[in-house]
């Protein structure tokens, strides 16, 4: 589901304060983060004080208050992945991209996040790239994955530029 606007997310849920988290979920899914503007609209439409919208948006891990990159790399750090060295993967991604967790790279391409379990424990360590699961990951495989995303993005950009010129 991709929403055209925040208005769509609050449609059919107006004046229903208990729908706050569902609305935030939809906004997060469509825009990749919860903007200040979104919070103001949600507050008005659902009848929830702005401070409570902010409180929920900042309390739950599912919501990001900052824009995220085009490619979100989610590292699972659950117990099963942890004992299979998932920490190395996080080190790899963060050092390769020179990022901190949750930060977006300057080119807007990457964000690296970590979660506490994706429920794919038998396949650990697991890395999810925009909804695609990569199992039995190693730092080397992850390095290649990041390189290949960069390459594809660069080619896409060059292609678009060639088209324009």
């Amino acid at each position: 589901m991709h929403l055209q606007s925040i208005e769509t997310a609050v449609q059919n849920r107006r004046s229903q304060p208990h729908q706050l988290i569902e609305v935030l979920q939809d906004v997060q899914e469509s825009f990749g983060y919860i903007s200040q503007e979104a919070m103001t609209t949600i507050s008005k439409e659902l009848g929830v004080p702005l401070i409570d919208v902010f409180r929920s948006a900042s309390f739950y891990k599912a919501f990001s208050l900052k824009p995220r990159g085009k490619h979100v790399l989610t590292m699972c750090l659950g117990t099963a992945c942890h004992v299979r060295q998932a920490k190395l993967l996080l080190n790899q991604a963060l050092s390769q991209l020179q990022l901190k967790p949750g930060e977006m790279s300057d080119d807007g391409l990457f964000t690296v996040e970590h979660v506490n379990c994706l429920g794919a424990c038998a396949l650990g360590p697991v890395v999810v790239q925009n909804g695609t699961y990569h199992h039995h990951m190693t730092p080397a495989k992850l390095r290649k994955l990041i390189q290949s995303i960069r390459k594809t993005e660069k080619e896409g950009k060059d292609h678009a530029q060639n088209k324009q010129s």
Partner: protein, 617 residues
């Protein structure tokens, strides 16, 4: 599908579907659960559809796309029936051969067979695989038989029979008696007797009552709830309907983790189908019973697995728990009587109502009845979901089903019950999976996560891992949990970084006991368990860290150093190129060297080196 307006009509439809299914001679079952999808099972299924259509077999052979079978590591998994032929690690390139050889000619493709890691033998049928054979798959077995997106499939395997038998026919009190008699206890971790919960909710006064399915499976290392809701959503729904009938609820909620997109999708579809068929809504199947279910997605807060925090979240608020002097069965969601059960608990209900309490209670121990699904992961040969009768010893699970340790290293411990549980050493492997036995040993069954750890795991690091997790997930409402976990983490971090002092062990114990006794909710009350259990069983590891400033497992970054084994190093330069700290020097084709001062012990070189020439000391 037209609305079904009576129990009789549903019964007739079920019979018709069963007769139709019997005519299908050949079935190809492919798993499309989260695990197998990660191994590209969708590509296999698409190719299969095309191939069957091309060979004109699409009318004769049924392709069944199912949820998780529990053996994710072997994915994508395919089972050919009626021969029960089991193929694993199937790729889309294999499909034409499977169709032309196995399906049409009944020939076995050797390379796709499962190899038992213990005996090294190739195994042909699903039934003969030791991993499955040693289990008692009362709930999980059905996952392989139903397409989670098809209500017809669920009906055809006998689904909704318990509902037909129960609503409008059996008095709610009798239903509760049956559940009580079965001895069913909450599968989410608490182990509270389900029947007692239902009685209290039934007896509580309230204009409206609610039932909630807790699918906010936050315990890292446990995924049986994902598997059930994703693979057989109607089973969970049926359980909830019976529960609602018993306690007198008109409305239900499934609170599911948003990290499980497929479970959210299938639960939504199942609810929509059930509504369209008249299994949910006003006057279900022509009876006086009205009930509807809504799906709510969790916000990724571990504390929301706690009942009062979950209900706050459902009300659209921040997920903080409240004191439970008045139980949620009396004062729950919107201050109304509410019955909250875990996915696996709900999934057990239809079976009990269909076959009777005795059928259920035959399995298990004195105080823990039935079966329990466990998520067996970590350093073990066979990882996956395992369903066993309560009372099965840990040894059977780890060695007979799990096949023992992987990587050729000796198993040291098993961590059970997630962040609320503890680590049990090998000499406790005679203990049975039983709510009370494991609690007595300082751990718990919890939601059923079982992470096997071998010699390469540092137990102090495990304690640190869970404390880091819990500190991050503590909602911060009560002080003992908020600050107590933080202080414990500080001490354990000191120990893992070489600043530990002998007197800190006693301080750690004292803190742990205080947090246990004074925290507001279950999260804080059980938070010290990983620390206490590792202190109880692996105290020597703490002492080695403190006294000798050494990590025997070679895990704690501050206490280890990396060096290059010059004999093994070929000077290929891969480590040098990939070191993010430029801490490796050397010329091509000459042994390299690690500059200790620059090395951050990130471990990337160890995994990049193909010649195992990086040594940890």
């Amino acid at each position: 599908m037209p609305r079904i307006s009576s129990l009789k009509e549903l019964e007739a439809l079920k019979k018709k579907l069963q007769a139709e299914r019997k005519k299908i001679k050949k079935t190809l079952t492919t798993c499309a659960g989260t695990g197998c999808q990660a191994s590209k099972s969708k590509e296999v299924i698409n190719k299969l559809r095309k191939e069957l259509a091309a060979q004109g077999l699409d009318k004769k052979v049924r392709i069944r796309t199912t949820g998780c079978h529990g053996f994710c590591e072997q994915g994508p998994i395919m089972v050919l029936d009626p021969a029960n032929l089991f193929y694993c690690h199937v790729r889309s390139e294999d499909v034409p051969e499977i169709v032309s050889q196995s399906l049409s000619r009944g020939k076995v493709i050797e390379r796709l067979l499962y190899t038992d890691p213990v005996s090294g033998e190739k195994i042909k049928t699903e039934a003969a695989i030791p991993f499955y054979r040693a289990q008692d798959r009362q709930l999980l077995a059905m996952n392989r038989l139903v397409d989670p997106e098809s209500l017809e499939d669920y009906l055809a395997v006998g689904g909704y029979s318990a509902l037909i038998k129960t609503i409008g026919k059996v008095e709610p009190e009798t239903v509760i008696e049956e559940i009580k008699k079965s001895g069913l206890r909450g599968r989410g971790g608490g182990g509270f007797p389900t029947g007692r919960k239902w009685t209290e909710c039934r007896q509580a006064a309230g204009e409206e009552k609610y039932v909630i399915c807790n699918a906010d499976e936050g315990d890292p290392g446990a995924y049986m709830d994902r598997c059930l809701l994703e693979g057989n959503p109607h089973l969970v729904l049926e359980g909830m309907m019976i529960g609602a009938w018993a306690v007198g609820a008109q409305k239900g909620y499934i609170y599911v983790r948003n990290e499980y997109p497929l479970a959210v999708k299938h639960a939504r579809q199942a609810v929509a189908q059930a509504r369209a068929w008249g299994l949910l809504g006003e006057n279900i199947l022509g009876t006086s019973f009205s009930f509807d279910v809504e799906i709510a997605r969790g916000g990724g807060a571990f504390v929301c697995g706690e009942s009062t925090a979950l209900m706050a979240s459902l009300e659209g608020k921040v997920g903080e728990p409240r004191p439970k002097d008045v139980h949620t069965v009396v004062d729950g969601l919107w201050h109304m009587p509410t019955t909250l059960n875990n996915v696996e608990t709900w999934a057990n209900v239809p079976g009990i109502m269909e076959h009777g309490a005795d059928w259920f209670a035959v399995k298990g121990t004195e105080t823990s009845k039935g079966t329990k699904i466990l998520a067996l992961t970590g350093h073990i040969k066979n990882t996956g979901l395992v369903e066993v009768a309560m009372g099965t010893p840990l040894r059977t699970i780890v060695y007979d089903i799990g096949g023992g340790g992987s990587n050729g290293k000796a198993i040291k411990a098993v961590q059970t019950g997630g962040p609320s549980g503890g680590c049990l050493p090998v000499d406790k492997f005679h203990l049975a999976v039983d709510f009370d036995a494991l609690t007595k040993a300082g751990s718990m069954v919890g939601s059923g996560g079982m992470v096997v750890m071998d010699e390469s795991t540092c137990m102090v690091d495990v304690a640190k891992y869970f404390l880091t997790f819990l500190q991050d997930e503590s909602c911060g409402k009560c002080l003992p949990c908020r600050l107590g976990i933080e202080r414990m983490l500080e001490i354990v971090t000191d120990i893992t970084e070489g600043r530990g002092r002998p007197e800190q062990i006693d301080l750690l114990k004292e803190l742990a006991e205080t947090v246990q006794e004074t925290s507001l909710c279950g999260l804080g009350k059980t938070a010290p368990n990983p620390v206490l259990s590792t202190l109880q069983y692996f105290l020597d590891e703490y002492h080695i860290h403190i006294d000798q400033k050494r990590c025997p497992a070679g895990v704690c970054q501050s206490l280890i150093s990396y060096s290059v084994n010059e004999e093994k190093c070929t000077g290929c330069g891969v480590c040098k190129r990939n070191c993010p700290s430029q801490a490796i020097e050397g010329q091509k084709k000459h042994p390299h060297r690690i500059i200790d001062d620059l090395c951050t012990r990130c471990g990337i070189c160890t995994s990049e080196c193909q010649f195992q020439s990086i040594a940890v000391s």
